[in-house]
Amino acid sequence: MFGAAMAGLLITMFLALVRAWRGPTVFDRILAVNMFGTQTVLVIAVAGFMSGRPEWLDLAIVYGLVNFIGTIAVLKFAKFGNLAEDGRRTVR
C-alpha cells in the first residue's frame, strides 16, 4: 500500500517537473517547484514508513519549512531582482 502511494507521488513529481520545464512564465516554474517540494515532503514521510523508520518525519518537517522560505525568497527575487531591499522602496 505504501508502494501505490509512493508511485502516485512520484508520478505527480514528474508531472510537476514537466510543467517546470515547459512553463511559459517564471511564475509557472515557481508554482511547479513549490508543488514539487510539497510532494517531496510527502515522499519523505511515506518512505520513512516504507523502510520502517518513521523518524524521517523530522526531515519532512524541515523540508516543508525550507520549501516555504525558498518559494517566498525566489518570488521576491523574481519580483524585485534583489533580496536585500524591502518591497516598499523603489528599485533603482
Binding site: A5, G8, T12, T38, A45, L57, L75
Partner: protein, 121 residues
Amino acid sequence: MSGMDIASWVLLAGGAIFCVIGGVGVIRMPDFYTRTHAASIPDTMGAGMILLGLMLQGGGWIVTVKLGFVLFLLLLTSPTAGHALIKAAHASGLAWQGEHDTHHTPLENPPVGGDDATDPG
C-alpha cells in the same frame, strides 16, 4: 486485516489519486491562474489524505504528533505561498487567458451588451 488498515489503505490510495489529478491538471490547464487551482489539490486533499493514512498506521504517539505537525505546516504554508505567487503574478501584469485574445478581432465578435457602446472606436 483490521478496519484500521483498510481505512489507512483507502486514505493512502485516495491521496495518491488526488495528487495525480493535481499533477495532470497542472499539465493540462490552459492558464497560470487555473494551474494554481490544480496545484492546490495535492497540497490540501492529497497531503491531508496521505498524512491521515500514515497516522492510522499506528507508529506511536510521537509519530502521530509529527505527522500532525507536517500537516499543520503544509496547511499553513501552501495557501500563503500560493497567495503570494498569484499576487506577484497579478502585480507583474500576467494576463488571464482570453483577456488579450488574438484569435478574433472585436469587429468579428462584438461583445453582447458590452460597455463599449459609447466608444465608436
